[in-house]
């Protein structure tokens, strides 16, 4: 009896296994016979509901997988940069500690000698928020009087890890400040040329090189000499790098002073982050 039942069920399943593929083959054959419009397009519309989300998911997955390689590379690069930056921070901390000790020592010695010590620079870092397209010599930064910035504050920046003069604050609002860059013709600062200690007046000259005026004809100035802000300046702290002498024009005939051209250390067109000194005159 049991054997009979088993035989029956196995015959049934073998019949099913024969008819199942045959029915699918006939079904697909009929689908091929039908015109693409009408029924087939309706079937496609129904299938679209099932397949389209899947196709989209597959496409997104493949796109994501394609980006994995790039993302991993960027992550590795960032990790390497992070390690290097951590080392640099450690070095900077070390230098900072040494600098603090030297400053304390300097203050002590100044007191002993009865000299007036230079004040430390206090200020805020700002970002250039806007450049006036019609006035290339003015930039607007994203900090203002609420951050302690006052008109006539000195503005510095970094180039190759060295501080350089950028300009002066003209106007402030609560949250923004307008900075006049040193290449503007209205800009002026007392400067001294490196080894000579000769003092002159630096002036902007538009797109041309900066000029130092009122240097004595006897001054020993050469191309390549460094130019720094002078201690006689009432606005800028002494010793800030301004640029390098690019040309020296000897006086002719009735001229009583040298005219020296200077290439600025900080390229005004490239400035992005600026340091504004907020503790007034540094003297």
């Amino acid at each position: 009896m049991q054997r009979k039942t088993h035989k029956k069920s196995s015959a049934g399943s073998s019949r099913l296994y024969t008819w199942l593929p045959v029915s699918f083959l006939i079904g697909s054959f009929l689908l091929m016979l039908l015109p693409l419009e009408g029924f087939v397009s309706s079937v496609k519309v129904v299938l679209a509901y099932i397949f389209i989300p899947q196709v989209r998911a597959s496409h997104e997955t493949v796109k994501y997988m394609e980006n994995v390689h790039q993302t991993v590379q960027e992550l590795l690069k960032t990790h390497r940069e992070n390690r290097e930056l951590k080392q640099q921070i450690e070095m900077a901390n070390l230098l900072n500690t040494q600098a603090r000790q030297i400053m304390l020592e300097n203050e002590r010695l100044n007191t002993l000698l009865g000299m007036t010590a230079q004040k430390r620079w206090n200020g805020v870092w700002t970002h250039v928020a806007y450049r006036e397209p019609t006035q290339w010599n003015v930039v607007i930064v994203d900090k203002g009087s609420l951050d302690g910035i006052r008109p006539r504050s000195a503005v510095l920046s970094l180039e190759q890890d060295q501080v350089g003069l950028v300009g002066i604050v003209l106007e402030t609002t609560e949250k923004t400040s307008k900075v006049l860059l040193l290449r503007d013709k209205d800009f002026a600062a007392a400067v001294q040329v490196g080894h000579t200690q000769e003092t002159g007046l630096l002036q902007g000259n538009g797109s041309a090189a900066l000029q130092i005026k009122y240097l004595s004809l006897q001054a020993d100035v050469h191309e390549g000499d460094e130019v720094y802000t002078a201690s006689s300046s009432s606005i800028f702290p002494a010793g800030i790098r301004v640029g390098k002498v690019s040309n020296v024009r000897q006086g002719k005939g009735f001229q009583t002073a040298l005219t020296v051209e200077v290439d600025p250390w900080i390229r005004p067109a490239a400035v992005k982050e600026l340091f504004v000194i907020t503790n007034g005159g540094e003297k």
């Binding site: 699918f24 079904g27 689908l31 679209a48």
Partner: protein, 164 residues
């Protein structure tokens, strides 16, 4: 029963993702690797026919969905491939890699040829993907098949549903 159905749905989704990925990657070297067929064959090696044939038919319909000239040719050729696979299942041991690779290579070539013939017959347009595309696609399909077979068998036979 329901668990098996969900597993099948998940495998189908995984198959479409693999197919899409391989189609995109291998298209850069002018090959069309039919991963959907590899998935279908791998499932035929573990599924009972009453589950296997509908699944394979659906896989074929999925590929037909993207066709513009003929609808149903992939469903047809996939069903033929499933018939062959079920016939071979009793003769070969699909636990070892070599039969998997050989069967996938041969059936992929056959499916390509069936599709070309069907297109020629029903639409009067000759469709020959080229020997490099057909044989290269079948070769890479065969090369990838052990991974797919391993994954599918591990996924499916881990379940209580065993191959009959």
């Amino acid at each position: 029963m329901f668990r098996s159905f969900y597993k099948l749905v998940l495998l189908f989704i995984l198959g479409t993702v693999c197919h899409w990925g391989c189609a995109t990657l291998f298209s850069y070297i002018g090959l069309s690797v039919n991963m959907m067929l590899v998935f279908a064959l791998a499932l035929c090696s573990v599924l009972r026919p009453e589950w296997g044939y509908p699944f394979v038919f659906l896989c074929g319909l999925f590929l037909d969905f993207f066709g513009i000239k003929l609808f149903g040719n992939n469903a047809f050729s996939f069903t033929v491939a499933a018939c062959i696979m079920y016939a071979l299942r009793e003769r070969f041991d699909f636990d070892s890699i070599f039969p998997q690779m050989m069967v996938v290579f041969c059936i992929t070539c056959l499916v390509g040829m069936i599709n070309s013939i069907l297109l020629l017959w029903f639409t009067n347009t000759a469709f020959w993907p080229g020997a490099w595309s057909l044989l290269g696609g079948a070769f890479f399909g065969g090369l990838l098949s052990p991974v797919v077979f391993w994954g599918v068998r591990r996924w499916w036979l881990g379940n209580a549903t065993k191959r009959n």
